[in-house]
Every structure is written in C-alpha cells, then in structure tokens.
C-alpha cells in the first residue's frame, strides 16, 4: 500500500491552498486527489471578476485565480492525480487513514495517509429538493450547471430566461445569459432580502434592467417535453404563495440558484460528526474534525461567499495537517464549546482549546436575518473576549472574528457568540 503524509481530497481552491501551505510547513509526501480532468474546481467556470482582492491584492477572474494556485502547486512539485475519485475514508487501528480511490491509472486502490484534508467543496440544491409542481421538461437547470455549459462548453442553452433564487450564482448568470444574447425576464427570490452580494444586484441586474422580485417564488412549471413557462407568485410573511398574484412568465429556460450544500458523503461515511446547521463537519480551532488527523476546509466545511476566505481557511487546515503528520501532538488541555445566541446561526469552529490555539483564532459565522446597528459579542462566562460593532450584518456575508491567544488563556467556561443592540 502506498503511504503518504497527507492526502488532500479535492483540487479546487481549498485543496490547492491546503497543499501549498502543508508543503511550506514541512510536509514532503503530499498528494492532491481531484476527480475532474483539471485542477481549479468551480473557479474554472466562474469567468467573472471579483476574486483575489484579499489574497493577491488585485481583482482576478475565477480561472486566473485558479491558475495562479495551480502554478504554485506545480512550481512546488506537489503531486496531484486527476480523474481520481475518492470512494472511502476510514481510520485505521494504527492511527493512519485508509483512503480508497478509483482512477484510470490506479483502478480501485487503497492508499494510506497520516493526515487527510477534506476539501471536496459543495454542490447545488437541485429542483427535486425544492418541491415545485409540474413536469420535468428540458430547459430547467441549476445555475451552476448552466454556467458550466455556457462558459466551459460553449453551449447556448436558451433565449428567454427566468431565474429562481437570488444567490450570487443566479445573479451572475442573469448577466451572463444577457451578454450571451438571451433575455432574462426576472429573478424571483422567496425571501424578503437577496441572498446575493449587493454589488452583484447592482452590476448584474440593475445594469441590465432585470427585475428582482423579492418575496416571490415559482409555483408551477409549464410544459411537458420542453419548458414553456413558469408561474411566479408573491408569498406572504409565512412564505405561502398568494394565489391572486400568480403570473405566467413564458420562457424556455429556468435557472435555479437556491442554495449550496457541502458535499460530505465521504465525511459522514467515515463517521465524522456533522453540524446540522452547516451540513459540514464539526471542527475545533485547528479545523480538525471529530477524527484525529482529518481536517476540513473550504465549502465542504461551510459555504463561503469569497474564495479569498476559502484560501485563507484552507491554508490553516493544510498547515495543521502538516504539523499533525510530522508528529506534533495536541496539548492535553480543556476544550470549550462555542454556543450560539441571538442572531448567530452557526460558528466554525464549534470548539476551542486555548492550549492548542494559534496566535489568532478565527470564528466565522453567518447571521440568520438582516441586523442593523448591532454588536457582535463573544463571551466566556462573564469575560468578554471580543465586542465588535457593525452598522449592518446580512446572511449573505460571512462574519470573520479574530481572537488573540492571550485573551483565551484562563477562560473556564464555554464560549458564547451572539448579537446585542449597539
């Protein structure tokens, strides 16, 4: 059996950043396993700009951001295997992890690693999970599938388009379809606010006069073989459609941008504890899962809105995986759970062990609603660790808090993160 220090599952932005930083931290025997034919993951189809402002200090397109990291991987001689699908991850009695893969060159084969980094990313919520009435005609795509067909395969998918869901991919695809010559009739959003970034609403919808229908949803899909139209209705405060407002939008294409789900089948099968709020692994301050030596980062851990945050987080996971693989032991000291309070939907990590914390510990989270003029408070018992004022917090923008190591020393109770009126 082939033995590695670290096996990184996934060659997208998370996997590449983890690999680069693991190598910098001294791990030699690393491999990235990627199921696609190229490195880069979802970035390859994200041809729009807005990537890299934090990481590279300039605005790049997705493919450029991916190519920069892929070049780093190649320049540092980090091995990667393409068209390689991981089938199973399992802890072994000796503390190493068995990683079963299938690929054209290896066939089905079991590899072994001291540490594993989970960097599989996420996938889109499909139509079947949305419960929309109607047949299954052609012309209904998730926004990301449409993006792949248009941007990577050069396919024209339709002329008259309706988009359900105002997540960033939906907004980006509204502009993209417009530039490809299609007409986008409307973007319908179930919630009273958009789940996309403000700049995308202005530059992808407003610039092209595309209406954003908040508190609206698709209640029927017309057409049997081919999509003929969709019925959009307004919803009340309980998100129940108001029948009288139903309106038919004739169209040949419906794009669904209704949320992303971390792809954690491998994680669950390995017996790693999953956080139901994020659908990602529960991790500690070192991004280590409930199985020692298995780390998680990027969109498989929790869905991010900026790739720059993915790279930063994954670099930490890679560095910690390297430390583990090189034999560093965790300090045996108390660990404190992070509890969420008012307005805070989840946190990553879910626990902090002060003795194992870096100089700066990140707590990342999303809020459950739109909040104006609030303070984010982090407390352990009566000790306040962080208090940060915000003019506005929205569900579409992840919050990143930093706690200094010295603040964590001497805490004796669980940590609580919540919002308070400022």
């Amino acid at each position: 059996m082939e033995n590695f220090d670290i096996i990184i599952i996934g060659g997208g932005p998370a996997g590449m950043a983890a690999a680069v930083s693991a190598k910098k931290a001294g791990a030699e025997n690393i491999v990235i396993l990627e199921r696609d034919k190229v490195l880069g993951g979802i970035l390859n189809q994200c041809i729009h700009g807005g990537f890299g402002l934090h990481t590279f200090g300039e605005e790049l397109t997705g493919p450029e951001y991916a190519e920069r990291y892929a070049d780093m991987v190649r320049d540092m001689d980090i091995p990667y295997e393409l068209e390689t699908m991981v089938l199973d991850v399992a802890p072994k009695p000796d503390g190493c992890k068995a990683v079963t893969v299938i690929s054209p060159t290896r066939g089905v084969c079991e590899l072994s690693a001291k540490a594993v980094v989970l960097a599989m990313g996420c996938r889109e919520r499909p139509r079947g999970a949305l419960g929309i009435a109607g047949f299954r005609p052609k012309g209904v795509y998730t926004a990301g599938t449409a993006q792949k067909l248009v941007n990577l395969e050069g396919v024209h998918i339709g002329r008259e388009v309706v988009i359900l869901g105002s997540g960033d991919i939906g907004l980006i695809m509204a502009r993209r379809m417009t530039l490809e010559g299609a007409h986008v009739a409307a973007v319908a959003e179930l919630m009273p606010y958009s789940s996309g970034l403000k700049r995308n609403i202005v530059q992808c919808l407003d610039d092209y006069g595309i209406p954003l229908l908040l508190s609206h949803t698709v209640i029927d899909i017309k057409g049997k073989d081919k999509l003929e139209g969709v019925v959009i209705a307004q919803v009340d405060e309980n998100r129940v459609p108001i029948k009288e407002t139903a309106k038919l939008y004739p169209c040949d294409t419906l794009l669904l941008s209704c949320g992303l789900i971390p792809e954690n089948e491998l994680t669950s099968a390995a017996g790693i504890r999953i956080d139901r709020r994020t659908n990602g692994a529960m991790v500690n301050e070192s991004l280590e899962t409930s199985i020692e030596g298995v780390f998680s980062c990027g969109n498989v851990l929790h869905v991010h809105d900026l790739v720059d945050f993915v790279s930063e987080e994954s670099a930490r996971a890679g560095e910690n995986a390297a430390k583990y693989a090189l034999g560093a032991k965790r300090e045996k000291c108390e660990s404190f759970d992070i509890e969420t309070g008012n307005g805070v939907r989840y946190t990553v990590p879910v626990s902090i062990s002060p003795g194992n914390a870096d100089e700066l510990t990140h707590i990342r989270f999303r809020v459950g609603d739109v909040y104006k003029n609030v303070s984010v408070v982090v407390k352990s018992g009566e000790t306040e660790l962080v208090r940060r004022k915000s003019r506005i917090l929205v569900p579409s923008e992840m919050v990143d808090l930093l706690i200094k190591k010295d603040k964590l020393q001497g805490i004796s109770e669980n940590i609580k993160v919540y919002l308070e009126e400022a």
Partner: protein
C-alpha cells in the same frame, strides 16, 4: 436633474439621490457615510465596468477573456460583440492580448486562462 442609485460600497446598500448639473454631481443625499458620495460621483459622471465573457476558438473550445481595464458602461454590448467576432486559435496562454483597444475604449482584451490544444 436628480438621479437615484444604490450604493455598492458595503452591504448597507444606501439608496442615494444625487443632483446633477451640467454633468457634474452637485449634491448627494441618502448616504450614511462619505464613501456613498464618492460612489455616486463616479457612477453618475463616467460609469465603467469590467467585462468578462468567452471567445469560442477555432477548435470549438471556449476561452474566458476579460477587459484588462474597465470600459465605459454604455460600451459593454459593443465590446462583447467585438470579442465574439475574434478569430482565436489554440493554444492560448493566460494574459495573452487577443485584441488591442477594444471599441476605442483604450482597454485590451486578454485571455483569462491557459488552454492547450488537445
């Protein structure tokens, strides 16, 4: 003349009302911080956008491209048309200049990805 627009500097998304005289912004209201005023001034006097799209190469494979610098907003569709008409053959390297001074905008069209001829 007054113009209404949404500030994109932060998630607040302030609804701005700007007064324009002879193509100059004379007053901005609705902003809750100084950045909103600056945004309204640029956006209403000379709005620009970066454009990204694909060019279908002679091999039939799309290559992502971008304007090297932002172009005037009212030229977006002209720029896309010019890009779509480009004859491009693989291989292409990231950063290759495929068209100089697109539509007289002063901006070049560059490849955003290395694509080999395979």
């Amino acid at each position: 003349m007054t113009k209404e627009l949404t500030c994109i500097c932060c998630p607040m998304g302030c609804a701005l009302t700007a007064e324009l005289e002879d193509g100059k912004v004379t007053n901005v209201t609705g902003n809750t911080c100084p950045r909103g005023k600056g945004y309204a001034e640029t956006e209403l006097t000379a709005p620009v956008r970066s454009v990204t799209t694909t060019v279908i190469t002679q091999q039939g494979i799309p290559v992502p491209v971008k304007t090297k610098t932002p172009v005037p907003k009212d030229k977006i569709f002209d720029v896309v048309r010019a890009i779509k008409a480009l004859p491009v053959s693989l291989p292409v390297k990231m950063g290759d200049v495929l068209l100089v001074d697109v539509c007289g905008s002063g901006s070049d069209i560059v490849a955003a990805r290395t694509v080999e001829n395979s």
